[in-house]
Symmetry: C2
Amino acid sequence: MSRYLLPSLASLAPYVPGEQPQDRRYIKLNTNESPFPPSPKAQAKAAEALKRLQLYPDPDGMSLVSAMAERLGLSPDQVLLCNGSDEILDQAFMAFCDGTHPAVFPDISYGFYKVFAEFHGVPYREIPLRADFSICPEDYFGAEGMIVIANPNAPTGLALKSSEIEEILMHNPKRVVVIDEAYIDFGGASAVPLIVQYDNLLVTQTFSKSRSMAGARLGMGFACKALIDDLKKVKYSTNPYNVNAMTLAAGLGAWEDEAYTRANVKAIRENREETEKALRDLGFETTDSRTNFLFARHPGIGGEALYQALKAKGVLVRHFSAPRINDSIRVTVGSKEEMEAFVRAVREVLEAQ
Amino acid sequence: MSRYLLPSLASLAPYVPGEQPQDRRYIKLNTNESPFPPSPKAQAKAAEALKRLQLYPDPDGMSLVSAMAERLGLSPDQVLLCNGSDEILDQAFMAFCDGTHPAVFPDISYGFYKVFAEFHGVPYREIPLRADFSICPEDYFGAEGMIVIANPNAPTGLALKSSEIEEILMHNPKRVVVIDEAYIDFGGASAVPLIVQYDNLLVTQTFSKSRSMAGARLGMGFACKALIDDLKKVKYSTNPYNVNAMTLAAGLGAWEDEAYTRANVKAIRENREETEKALRDLGFETTDSRTNFLFARHPGIGGEALYQALKAKGVLVRHFSAPRINDSIRVTVGSKEEMEAFVRAVREVLEAQ
């Protein structure tokens, strides 16, 4: 920290991304990446785009925006691209929250919501999940600020129904409701169709998970034109050329290759179910995950101990030290081979107890 | 604008990027892009990286950071990568300025400084350039806030000497001094060597101009470790994975292919000199540009009229409507053929007057 840093930022605790170790090869099940490479069509389009990098990208990414709008039955001015969905969440905090415009979100959810709030000086309230880790929609009725809900939620993996999202929207006409659908393709029901009815709804999604493009940094937001215009104001006041030309091209290729995405999602769901069954057979409790990860705890070993023991065996999973979830691990669903290796490693750890 | 947008943002005027017309082919000399494709080494590395996009990028980009640090005689913790240098400038405003920590910059400079300040609610003072468009270093001694100076300046093209930058640094021990070196490779003297002496200096650079990578979105900042740590705090509180894997790879290829960059810079400087001479022969006044653009005015035609007339002929240049410079145009220095076509078009416009 320098002596020039704003005093208001001095005590901040920034977000800590999952480990990206460079020292040894792990079976890497800690950051919810896809085990599959990006679509060949995405690769081919990026390979073309990289030859013309001397030119700025289209700041609006209209080719991709139009393709998305067409498939989703939206108009292009209801779609905004971003440099990963973290960026559009940050933009939402900047557009709709400040020291007198608070935010609310679940106490157990994506850890970045709290970081955004603290960084931007936004008062926030964390609403506890139920004991079974589910979100109680009524808790969000008449909220005192912008609502941010991950659906399905992370790291719990649990999803709300569309009707529950709609109830939250109906009961908050004065508040923006952000539904973070990073994991929606693995089993949840998207809130995108609700955009035409609710002018307070912002849905965010990403190419990082189901479309195997975490390395490309591409996310998107869907909302009524007025909300998208607000976010564009933030974008054009901070970093207009936020999505690079290779990523725009790859994104279009991936979007057009929906069959590839569906096939990968199907494989991951199958691997998820098999792994979940194996974990339950080993005595784990698991949540009903609708994502590309499993959230599991074992009565015989703590989350931290299990994480460390697996890491020693070359399998990287994620452990969170927050109360209520520190006895669990979050395990990305990878390939069939990776999940078999993971289950083998877990069995060895339990047997050595 | 929605009814949810923060009142403080309602009247903002965001940055307006140069036109990126999709409707017809122009000789595009309006956004200071390079006429040359990216280095073959940059292309090859990006082509490899796009096959593994399913994995998140290294958020610190250590391979590229280390390569930069080594060549510049810095330590890796004195280097920070960003999603275009706009982003690191935005981060600097967030780290060092707020409602009670102002900023100062020249009245005629990169238009985004004012946008950053207004967006973040930062009071700012614009210090007038001298009548000849040069910056008077003494005007910045004992400044009341963070200083931001583009060197060479845009759209004037004029550069300060290293000794003048150093005087500004010496006279502002309590202020961060940001030197925006987007155009430094075309003729200015970089302030990077001053980093070891001045803990208040942040130098920003970009791969968009001399390295033909505007489409990839890659910039970087150089400063003492403490200032870089401050900016990392902002990065890790807003968008940690801000630079994608293809761009990191391309950046390393471009950085390693310094001979390619130098050859392109040499060609652009030669084209700049020839074009400048041709413009002077046609009666233009030009500044002593140390950049990849020319800033020129003609006593016989206004800037707006010239811009429009050239656009009608298929040549796109940039015109700014701000006072003092609205009689001028800014012309990117492109290839020899492009500049010959530009001069031909200018001659025709003048003859038709």
